[in-house]
Amino acid sequence: MAAGVAAWLPFARAAAIGWMPVATAPMPVPPQEKRRGKDGLIVLNVSGTKFQTWRDTLERYPDTLLGSTERDFFFHEDSNEYFFDRDPDIFRHILNFYRTGKLHYPRQECISAYDEELSFFGIIPEIIGDCCYEEYKDRRRENQERIQDDEEADPGSELVSPDLSFRESMWRAFENPHTSTMALVFYYVTGFFIAVSVLANVAETVPCGAAPNRAKEMSCGERYALAFFCLDTACVMIFTVEYLLRLLAAPSRYRFVKSVMSIIDVVAIMPYYIGLVMTDNEDVSGAFVTLRVFRVFRIFKFSRHSAGLRILGYTLKSCASELGFLLFSLTMAIIIFATVMFYAEKGSSASKFTSIPAAFWYTIVTMTTLGYGDMVPKTIMGKIFGSICSLSGVLVIALPVPVIVSNFSRIYHQSQRAEKRRAQKKTRLARIRAVKSGGANAYLQYKRSRLLIGPDQEASKEAGQALVCKTNPNFEVHHHHLLHCLEKTTNHEFLDEKTFETNLREVTLVKQVSRSSSISSASSPHGFTSCCSRRKRKTFNVPNSNMSVGLQDSIQELSTIQIRERPLTNSRSSLNAKFEETVPLNCEQPYITAAVISMPTPPGTTPEGDDSASSTDYSQANIVRVSAL
């Protein structure tokens, strides 16, 4: 609740006089007015800059340094002021928080300095107002990421836990080569062999000059076939070993097999093995030659070694739709122009444009402004359309490319921002919910805490006192008294959502149960203290006769007593106007009521034997409250 509104509490309490003539129950006693300290100005000297404010303003937030007695530690007798050796610029915002109830974050301040000041003065950053909260969170996150990056870049900070299993340490070595020397060596060796393999593939095809006993010029691959084969074997063995080791070390083998890198690895080494298997069969030698093409995929293995390749791959993947559009529009243009060119050149003799698919080649070459010149139009119409084709080619190609580039940058930044917003939205909604329910729950907590002081005299007295003292400054106490008066006026109590819903569920449950008039024990887990239950039993018989007839259908008011959880008040059921409320209870609690279950309880807990007789009455009964002051 905003601190400013606290100043209106006297008004709200005065307005409660409007409920008094309506109320049928007596009102609770107002809490004692704590004699406040003399209301005066306090001088706060922060590193020479003097701030002054009312004492009450500071005491609005008693769980901070300035609002509690903690500030007495900073009292300076000589100058009769409170001296803080802190930053006055940031202190200005902290003091404004007391004044307005809203904490703002100044953008020009350093985030860690601000955090330090907040923690010094005992203010939690979560109460920063909505206007500044996102900025604060952004800066904080950036700061933390920067710190994290620094830590990661620092090699000495790597924690090597000795009890990593061999498998885990192997996997870590594979993923982060700089963790150990062995891993680094392995990393460079594989890189070297990839390079060697790729170079060998390339060099195989270079013409090497004629062999001494041959006239024809042959490629190096054919001339030094054995050498290349040995090289290839060596490379493939290294790759196979590497793949098997990775497979062994992977924490999730299935996921590893599915990953792109492992597929590349497999595709890189499979041709060799297939080739080994198929060397004796000459018919499929054609296919075998094709397979050798796949050896070039080894070059993709470099992407483990290069982050740039990975980023490129990610870019293409993320711009897939734009690329698709580019392809589609190109295809459309190609088909259009190829058709047009074909029909335009149909007339000319010895035209190379033999069919529309043949014209595709011309269109592509022209649109990408390559212009090989192997197919040229000869008719006038053909030339006209050819020029239109080349002009439009520039447009068709040049337009989507910047779109892709900008798309990429937009998508990238957007995804970053969306993540941020999603994370912040959740916390923001949670904060709003917490503030809303905090106001309501504070009262319920207060009621429970007052209760706790009674039954568990020893155990929870401290807890109750602690709760009361911490969360009940002067304002809270009066506010709770106000809410209590409202409860009295309407003869209903406040509940929190959870209990309310459990009640509703129990009501429907009990409705079904009490149709059959058998004694059910669904209520037994909730315990009564024995003295109250005895009293309840007794007094229950008295009002039974007074029950008004109109309640026969309403079993709605059933609930189970949970003395530990249910707030007990001394309100009466509004329908029992004549009910005498002076049944004495032996229990010591200030406010005790027992809400009686109108469901029959198991015989174990009832000392009286008139259970069965009153069970039918129970089903008709409304809640009867016994109060004792």
């Binding site: 309490r13 003539p21 109320a23 209903h492 008011e557």
Partner: protein, 216 residues
Amino acid sequence: MDAKRVETISARVDAAVSSSDSVEDELELSAVRHRPEGLEQLEAQTRFSRKELQILYRGFKNECPSGVVNEETFKDIYSQFFPQGDASTYAHFLFNAFDTDHNGSVSFEDFVMGLSILLRGTVQEKLNWAFNLYDINKDGYITKEEMLDIMKAIYDMMGKCTYPVLKEETPRQHVEVFFQKMDKNKDGVVTIDEFIDCCQNDENIMRSMHLFENVL
């Protein structure tokens, strides 16, 4: 309310006087400030001491820097005290009770006069004020419909999650109880005399009237 001085900020700007632009008019309206009468006058008119008036005004001005409360702000402020329910209807009735000259806004004088009655007035005055609150159309009679409205507004403040569960007819039944008690001649309305009479005979009500005397 006599001697209410309304200052418009735009009076300082000469251009605003000459122009008849609707936008300027809007600016004028929104910049209305209200300064209350002097401290001495208020001291004479109410039963608060100087210090109390100072504290009250500081709180009032903090929440309403312009010096007047309109109904929206009033409802807003009052709702913050009752987070579980909907306090806006009751706040509406309260607003009408405080806004004695019915000009749509509660100035500090209205506020402080109301509070003076509620906190420092005699029992007669307090009951009078309560009667005024219940009598929505200010005709001197409380009818069952008016009381039902008030009662529903009060029960609305409790919200949904109550124990026992709030039923539809609970406010109505409460009104019946109230009328049974207050309406002596059973003519269906409660007059001011019946009301005061009956309240003075009910010791619960008498006791609760003195409940908030040492607020502030």
